[in-house]
């Protein structure tokens, strides 16, 4: 018998660990990985709520499903852009993309 809150705590840890990664990592791809963690944690939330609280319909599950697809699209675009950065700037250090500030 697993309490629902345990799922939620796990997912929120995953979420904020992702946020931490976004904030602290240097490598753009590592930042992107952190975003994946964030999205993934949200999908867990949806599934859990759906299963535990509102099992009559499949809303949460479908949101998770679509969320997975969206995160895939997002990753694809992001990786394209990151590779483009690599091509233009020669590295993918997030700290180097700070030319726009004035």
């Amino acid at each position: 018998m697993i309490p629902m809150s345990h799922y939620l705590i796990v997912s929120s840890i995953m979420f904020f660990v992702g946020v931490y990664g976004f904030i602290a990592r240097k490598n753009l791809l590592a930042v992107l990985i952190s975003i994946e963690l964030i999205l993934n944690s949200v999908e867990i939330n949806f599934s859990v709520f759906n299963r535990y609280l509102y099992p009559d319909h499949l809303e949460g599950m479908f949101f998770s499903l679509f969320g997975i697809a969206i995160s895939a699209a997002e990753t694809a675009v992001a990786i394209a852009i990151i590779i483009n950065i690599y091509r233009v700037a020669g590295n993918i250090d997030v700290r180097h993309i700070d030319k726009l500030k004035h």
Binding site: V19, F22, I23, A24, V31, V94, R95, D98, L100, K101
Partner: protein, 535 residues
């Protein structure tokens, strides 16, 4: 004719009021103005701005007549101001001369200052009587109660009169006003405009008498003091026009005293006679100046041979002003002395002294111009007829006007006055008719006093200090500084403060994505917390 309506009760009318007083003034103004205009044709010949001169003269006469016939106090104030302005323009006629410009400004500003009192006085008076009209104000049944308001109002109105009539301490503009062309001085600063103050008080006299007798006492003392004060200064002046100017101040003060001691008739009578002989004096002086091209006594002397007509007429005027019978001055002065005697012996004493002094300085003037040694490069010549005719006419008037009004002469007092005058004349004759060292010795003994008197007791300096130091240095400069640096500075500070804040927060937007992310996430959390806490 209603000119401007302020509210249901107060309105300015423009009208014509003819009564003995105004008719008398009209006569004076008309005659003197005519004489002056005629005289000026000769005097101003060939001057730059000949046309302008007569234009301004016309403006002045218009204003003066408007003043005289005013039916209400506000109309009088209107023309009062116009008179002041035309006086300003005429004094500043020689506008390229800095002294003339200064004098004109001084005249205008000093009288303006006095007029401020006049205006406030009018405001007080009108707000509490509900009318401007002289007829209503001076009517026997006028509901004017004695009270602080009335005292204030009338005192302030007297301040206006004192400004125009050059009473101490507002007299300072008049001597300087002599920078104007001499005929102008004759007209404005001797015969007509300067007596407007006297006229005003005469016009309002019932109000003074019933509502503010205290002010009359004030007028008496101010008048007496001014009379003495001006006479003393007149003794030491060397510029003939300034001597005349101080003499004018002194004589007007005489009239004021007469008003103060409640003898309107004497006052106006003296006004009437004074106008002619003083105009005559000025025009005579004008003729002299015209001849020798200088105002200084030291450049004159022995002119009686060169300018006989001027000499005679001038002498008549001097006798008249000194109060020697049968010239007009005798009668009018006597009236005043009598009134003063009955009112207050001290004042009478002062006036008697002034009468002596008057005779002394007038004859000092006379002797130094027409007698004594002379040394001219080119001999001066008599003025042309166009200038001498007015002199003659005025001299005749001076002789006869004393008899116009049948007066009862109190010979006791009259003889006292005459004796004082004769003493003055004799002393002057002793001192100045022939070369003598008496004046020098006297001057040495009274050095400090003489010095002070010749500097007009430093009143000018005091005023200058007030204007320069207080108005400019003490108020205007600080105000201007305050405006630029505090008020404007505050406005600018708001602007630059905003820019400063903008500079300070600039690093927040440093181009780092991760800083943005921190901001984003923490803000979201903070907002959530705030919403929890606040709602």
């Amino acid at each position: 004719m209603e000119w401007l309506r302020f509210n249901d009760t107060l309105h300015i009318d423009l009208g014509i009021l003819l009564d003995p007083l105004s008719v008398m003034m009209l006569t004076v103004v008309g005659v003197v103005a005519l004489m002056v205009v005629v005289f000026s044709i000769g005097y101003m010949k060939g001057e730059r701005g000949f046309g302008r001169y007569f234009g301004l003269l016309g403006l002045f006469v218009f204003s003066m007549l408007g003043l005289v016939v005013a039916t209400n106090i506000f109309q009088m104030y209107i023309f009062w101001e116009l008179v002041g302005a035309s006086s300003y323009l005429l004094i500043g006629f020689y506008y390229t001369r800095p002294a003339a410009v200064k004098a004109s400004q001084k005249a205008f500003i000093v009288t303006r200052f006095a007029d401020l009192g006049f205006l406030i006085g009018i405001l007080i008076l009108s707000s509490y009587t509900g009318t401007f009209d002289f007829a209503a104000l001076t009517a026997d049944n006028a509901a004017i109660a004695v009270g602080p308001q009335a005292n204030w109002a009338m005192a302030l109105i007297f301040m206006g009169a004192a400004g125009k009539s050059a009473m101490f301490p507002l007299h300072i503009w008049l001597p300087d006003a002599m920078e104007g062309p001499t005929p102008v001085s004759a007209l404005i600063h001797a015969a007509t405009m300067v007596v407007a103050g006297v006229y005003l008080i005469a016009r309002m006299f019932p109000v003074f008498q019933f509502a503010a007798p205290d002010v009359l006492v004030l007028i008496t003392y101010v008048g007496a003091f001014t009379a003495l004060f001006a006479a003393v200064i007149a003794i030491t002046q060397t510029d003939i026009k300034r001597v005349l100017a101080f003499s004018t101040i002194s004589q007007i003060a005489y009239m004021m005293v007469a008003l103060g001691v409640a003898d309107v008739a004497a006052s106006t009578f003296h006004l009437f006679t004074h106008a002619f002989f003083k105009a005559l004096l000025f025009l005579g002086a004008g003729a002299v100046i015209h001849a020798v091209h200088s105002n200084e006594m030291s450049r004159m002397g022995g002119l009686r041979k060169f300018m006989p007509i001027t000499h005679i007429t001038f002498l008549i005027a001097c006798l008249s002003i000194s109060g020697i019978p049968p010239f007009s001055g005798f009668f009018s002065k006597d009236e005043i002395l009598v009134a003063a005697f009955h009112h207050n012996p001290v004042v009478f004493g002062v006036l008697l002294l002034v009468a002596g002094l008057t005779a002394f300085y007038m004859f000092r003037l006379y002797f130094r111009i027409f007698w004594g040694a002379h040394h001219y490069d080119r001999p001066p010549h008599e003025a042309p007829p166009i200038m001498t005719i007015p002199l003659i006419v005025l001299a005749v008037l001076t002789c006869v006007t004393g008899f116009v009004v049948p007066v009862h002469i109190d010979w006791a007092i009259a003889s006292a006055g005459v004796v004082a005058a004769v003493i003055g004349i004799v002393v002057a004759w002793r001192f100045y008719a022939k070369p003598s060292d008496a004046p020098a010795r006297l001057a040495a003994r009274w050095a400090g006093f003489g010095q002070a008197a010749s500097h007009r007791f430093y009143i000018d300096e005091a005023w200058l200090w007030v204007t320069r130091r207080i108005i400019f240095g003490g108020i205007s400069r600080p105000v201007a500084w305050f405006d630029r640096h505090i008020v404007d500075g505050a406005m600018n500070a708001i602007g630059s403060g905003t820019v400063r804040v903008s500079e300070t927060i600039e690093p927040v937007q440093g181009g780092k994505v991760q800083s943005y992310a921190i901001l984003f996430v923490l803000s979201v959390l903070l907002i959530t917390l705030l919403v929890f806490v606040l709602c």
